[in-house]
Structure formats: C-alpha cells, structure tokens
C-alpha cells in the first residue's frame, strides 16, 4: 500500500502548474468567453506538448492534471478531449441525461451519445451557461462511430477539476484576507473569517483521497463518491471565497468570478449531485454489495 503520488506524478503536476502560471489564464479565459479561441487553443497545444494529451489511460495522472487545470480555471472542453478518447484532437460530446449539451461545439469536433453509441454530431442552438467561458450547444446525431466509452473517466476528471477549483478559490481567499485591512488589521485575523477558510481546507483535504482512490479502483461507487465530495467541497469553497472577498468578489472584473461561476456550472454538468449520491447508495444497498 502506497497511497501517495510518486515522483513522476508530482513532477507532472509541477510541469502543468509551471505552464499555467506562466500563461495568463484569466485573460485566456476572458478571450474564450468573448469568442476569441486563439489564446486558449494555443494553451491547449502547449499542454499537449508536455504530454497531457496522452494520458487517457492513466487515471491517476489525469486527476493530477485536472486538479491543476481546475485550480487555474482553464477554459475549453478538456474533460471531453483528454479523458474520453474521442477520435478528434479537440473533441466535445453531449451525453444525455448527465450531459445534455456539448461544450464548445463551435471550436471542438462534436459527438453525441445515443443509446450507448457514439455518433458524429451537428451543433444546433447555443445555450447560455452561468459560466461565460462555457459555450453550450444542442446537437443532432449523425453517423454512428462506435460504442460509447469512458463516461466514468469523464466524471472522475471533472471531480478532480472541481477539487482544483476549490483549491484555487481557497488560495486566492487566503491571500486576499491576509492583505485586505479593515478595523486596522488584516481581515484574516478575525476568527469568523479563519473558520470559514479552515472548513474549506478540511473539506478539500478529505475530498482529495476520494478522487485519488476513484482513480485507483475505477469503481462506479468511488467515481460518483469522489464527484459528490469534490463538488460539495468546491461549492463550500465558492461560498466562503465570495464572502471572504466581499463586494469585489461579486464583480465580473475580478478573476475570482472565473472560478466561482465554473464551480456552479460544473455542479450541474456530468450529472447532478442527487444522481451521483443515488448511484452510491444503490451500489451500497444492491443485493450483491
């Protein structure tokens, strides 16, 4: 038993972090939201260059990468492209009922799953997401491609992404309350603020092992469990982060908005929390369990 990342996996996380820290991801996300995909596609190409595109069969490595992608709020159909093994360099998919819309089908090759079969797809009408960087499209099915695969791999990566979003929100909040002064002292000195952020850290630290274990076992009960815990921790982080930032956190101009709105969007995509909890409970109480 060794339930920890190895040196190569930690190195992978560092490489992704270094790349994302050197890129201006907030500006890239804002451009993506405005329909200018060039900086985002450039960033995705750089991620491919350091090997991220070849990880589809390495679930632990995927969770490592997606935690970093979440932490920096990288836009684009990354779960779809990196985790599902779809036959396109930049791909997206609609997979009802969990995922009714295809993300960024205006820039990625769209597919749709109908009755467990993957089909080519034509994008239809665009839907407005709560997250301006997420351009959602209805799709109509074209030619069948083959059996649909790796839905749980997508859910796992989204869980890791949510975990990273939560960590990004927490890190930004801790930095903010340390420099923001009221009543003559940093607001981070107030216990009310400290306790909000401590609760977030506990939730994230205890969600991470569920995500890693889901990557190790690949069991549906673990995948959905990881998603439930990660999405709840990210949600707690979002509420606490907004509260810690005060009014400036409630502006689109502040980069916090990129993370806050993505957490809200991802809680609905790839299945609701209720769907995933029910899946866990069904697995625990099924006669074979």
């Amino acid at each position: 038993m060794r339930f920890a990342l190895n040196a190569e996996q930690r190195q992978l996380a560092e490489s992704v972090t270094a790349l994302l820290t050197s890129a201006d991801v907030p500006a890239t996300a804002r451009a993506w939201a405005a329909g200018n995909h060039e900086p985002g596609l450039d960033l995705i190409a750089k991620l491919a260059k350091i090997g991220v595109a070849e990880l589809a069969d390495y679930p632990v490595e995927l969770t490592v990468v997606f935690e970093e992608l979440g932490r920096h709020a990288v836009p684009g159909p990354l779960v779809e492209t990196y985790a599902l093994g779809l036959p396109a360099d930049l791909a997206t998919v609609a997979w009802a009922p969990l995922l009714p819309y295809a993300l960024d089908a205006d820039v990625a090759t769209p597919f749709v799953v109908v009755d467990d079969v993957l089909h080519e797809a034509e994008p239809g009408e665009r839907q407005q997401s709560v997250d301006p960087t997420r351009h959602l499209f209805t799709v109509t099915a074209g030619e069948p491609v083959g059996p649909a695969q790796n839905r749980d791999r997508g859910i796992l990566c989204q869980a890791a992404q949510l975990l990273g979003l939560g960590r990004g929100l927490l890190d930004r909040s801790a930095a903010y309350v340390t420099q923001r002064t009221q009543f003559g002292r940093p607001v981070g000195e107030f216990q009310a603020v400290k306790h909000h952020l401590a609760n977030v850290l506990v939730a994230l630290e205890l969600a991470r092992p569920l995500v890693h274990a889901a990557a190790v076992t690949g069991e549906p009960v673990d995948i959905s469990g990881a998603r439930v815990a990660a999405a709840d921790a990210a949600h707690l982080a979002a509420r606490a982060a907004l509260q810690a930032h005060g009014a400036v956190g409630f502006t689109q101009e502040h980069d916090l908005s990129l993370l806050l709105l993505k957490v809200r969007a991802l809680r609905s995509a790839w299945g609701t929390q209720t769907w995933h909890r029910r899946r866990v409970l069904d697995s625990l109480t099924s006669p074979t369990a």
């Binding site: 038993m1 190895n6 801790a174 603020v193 205890l206 569920l210 274990a213 469990g225 439930v228 909890r277």
Partner: protein
C-alpha cells in the same frame, strides 16, 4: 499509487479477524465508565494483551508486536467491525504511551509501558482546570519542589477515565514566576495517593466518564516527571497532536458505524435521509483514505503537524452527523435508549474534547493557510 495490502498485512488481518471472532464477548459489556463495566473492560484488555493485540504498533519488549501503521489501521478496521468493547486503556496507550516514546527515559518506558499494555495501570488525563480549558497554558495547579520530587496541589476537571482509573498525567505549574507556556511540568501521579480526592461527574450520557481531581500536596517522585521540569508544554503538545491526529480515533471506528448506518437504511429506508446516509458513508471512507495517505506520507519521511487538526475537525463532525442521521432514520423510535442513542450522545463531546474545534480551526487557518495570528 495503490491501496493493496501486502501479504504480511493480509495474514495479520486474517489472524486478527479469527481471534476477534473467537474472543469478542457475545453480549455487550456494561459501559466502561460504570462500576460494573470498568473491571470487565480491564479484564478484556488483559485478554487482548495476552494475544499481543492491545498495542500492536509497540515494540515487542513492551507488549506489542512491532506492527506497521498500516497494520494498525487494519487491526482497528477489524476491531470495530467485530463490535469489540470500547478501549478503556485508550488514553494511556494513545496519549501517554506516545509521549513516553518521544520524551520518556528508558527507565520510565520499561517501568510503565508493559503495565499499560496489560492494563495493569489504566490512565486518566488531567489537563483541564476550572480556569484552563481551551486556554490550556492558563493552568494554575502547582508542582512545588520537595526532597526527591514534587508536591502537587490544585484542581483538575473533565478528567476522562478519572472516576475509575489508577493513575493520571497532566501539566502543572512548577515555576510560579514564568508566564503562560513556560514553567510548566509534565507529571504522572497516582489517583489513590494521599492528598488526592476524585469526584466523578455524571456526563450528558449519564455515565461518570470524567471527574474532578483535587490535589493537596500530593507527593510525586522525580522519576514520574516526563521531560525536563519547565518543559512540559512542549511535551504536552506532542501528546495533543497524537490525540487529535492518527491514533486516538482510527478510521475503523467510523467505517464500522457507517456500515451499520447503511444496514439501518436498508431496514428503514427514508428518501429524506438518503443523501445524509451517503455522505456519512463517504465521510468514513474519506477519513480512512486520508489516514492511508498520511501513513504513506510518514513512510516517505513526512511528519504529522498541524494536519492533525484537520483530522480532528473531520472525524468529530462526521461522528455527530452520522449518529444524527441514524436517529432520524429510526423515526419516532429515535428517542428510545439504544446503541445509536448512546453513540450519538458520546459523539456530541467530540467537537469539544482534544482541543475544541474552534481552536482547531484557528490552528488550520494560521498554520496551514498562513493567516495572521493576531491578538486573541
């Protein structure tokens, strides 16, 4: 990254499982902090010790079997799954034992640990005082120098196990001039010594699990001081870190309770409580995995520091939520006395003992998130 148990650990697990199946009392013992229950729990500890199962991670010379931390987790999994009795020696083993390993002398270890492993001595903790709860450094009980030792005077309270235990350990102010964390000394004393009066306190759950201890010039020899006189705070913080951290509340305890909760849900399904059943089960699994991650980190040379506060916050809140969910599943029978009821009442103490959760959140915020300490 893997969760696989090695052959030796699997073999150990099977041995423990078989042993427990053969030895765990078929009818539950009376509460350990009751007059009838305490001796029976001591006897159970003797039985465990004979099989070298009372302190599995300790060296053999002290009654253990040099088991790894992973094997300890597995032992605890099996122990709680088997519904074995509550551990009346837990305070000594988890708190004082680890302190003696870190700060005790060879003489102290040889004299005290084997007796602790066999529950010949059952230990109570004597930290809190009427004016020193969360603010532990405010202790006023004194240790005054005398020939060959110290005279202890003052009052301790909320002392777990003190109603029935043999001996106790705690912090005493040995230098009245020193401030706060300085001038404190870590002392062990006999609860039946001259000058000691123990007054049991009936807890919320009806049992006398803790007590007040009054000390009036109680003599303690030098060999019952742990660490240097005046260095007690540093010694005690090691104990506190263990209490909150790995060893006091093993994952097995919560995993077993969560499995019983799922069983209860099968008997009495309730749509309203379904989400909370899932969250309790996931919480127990998360805590177990988090413990395995910690063990892996320690194996890589890492240390257990402020992370122990994360542990304590998580398991204490999980325990309350899990038991509340069970009582809600029981519907109108949730009011009735029973194992879930007593487990619930006990769980309510979790966010208070071993350092209140408010103190733990301060520790997490300041030491893990780097928020400014400021004035309290």
């Amino acid at each position: 990254m893997d969760l696989d148990l090695d052959a030796a650990t699997l073999e150990f697990r099977d041995e423990v499982r078989d042993w427990l199946a053969e030895h765990v009392p078929t009818t539950p013992l009376p509460p350990m902090d009751s007059d009838e229950g305490f001796p029976l729990h001591r006897e159970w500890e003797h039985t465990l010790a004979e099989a070298r199962l009372s302190t599995v991670t300790w060296p053999r010379e002290f009654g253990g079997r040099d088991a790894s931390l992973l094997q300890w987790v597995v032992f605890e999994d099996e122990y709680y799954a088997a519904g074995a009795p509550a551990r009346v020696s837990a305070n000594g083993i988890a708190l004082l034992g680890s302190t003696l390993f870190a700060f005790g002398t060879d003489e102290q270890r040889a004299r005290l640990l084997p007796r602790m492993a066999r529950a010949d001595d059952i230990w109570a903790q004597a930290w809190s005082e009427p004016e020193a709860g969360s603010d532990l450094a405010a202790v006023r009980s004194r240790a005054v120098r005398t020939d060959g030792g110290w005279l202890l005077s003052g009052q301790k309270t909320w002392s777990s196990r003190a109603s029935h235990a043999d001996r106790a350990f705690g912090l005493f102010r040995s230098d009245p001039e020193a401030q706060r964390h300085h001038g404190l000394t870590y002392v062990m004393f006999d609860l039946r010594a001259d000058g000691v009066t123990v007054r049991p306190i009936r807890q919320l759950d009806g049992v006398t699990g803790f007590a007040e201890i009054f000390l009036d010039e109680v003599f303690v020899p030098d060999e019952d001081v742990i660490g240097a006189p005046g260095e007690g705070w540093r010694v005690a913080m090691t104990t506190a870190s263990n209490e909150r951290g790995l060893t006091l509340r093993s994952p097995g305890r919560f995993v077993a309770a969560a499995e019983r909760l799922v069983d209860l849900w099968r008997e009495r399904p309730s749509t309203e409580a379904a989400d909370r059943v899932v969250d309790a089960w996931l919480g127990a699994r998360a805590y177990r995995l988090y413990t395995l991650a910690t063990i892996s980190r320690l194996a890589d040379g890492g240390t257990l520091g402020a992370e122990s506060s994360v542990n304590k916050l998580f398991w204490s809140e999980l325990d309350v939520a899990l038991h509340e969910t069970a009582l809600d599943l029981l519907g109108t029978d949730g009011e009735l006395a029973g194992p879930w009821q007593s487990g619930y009442l006990f769980s309510l103490a979790g966010p208070i003992y071993a350092g209140t959760n408010e103190i733990q959140r301060n520790v997490v915020a300041e030491r893990l998130l780097g928020l400014p300490r400021g004035s309290r």
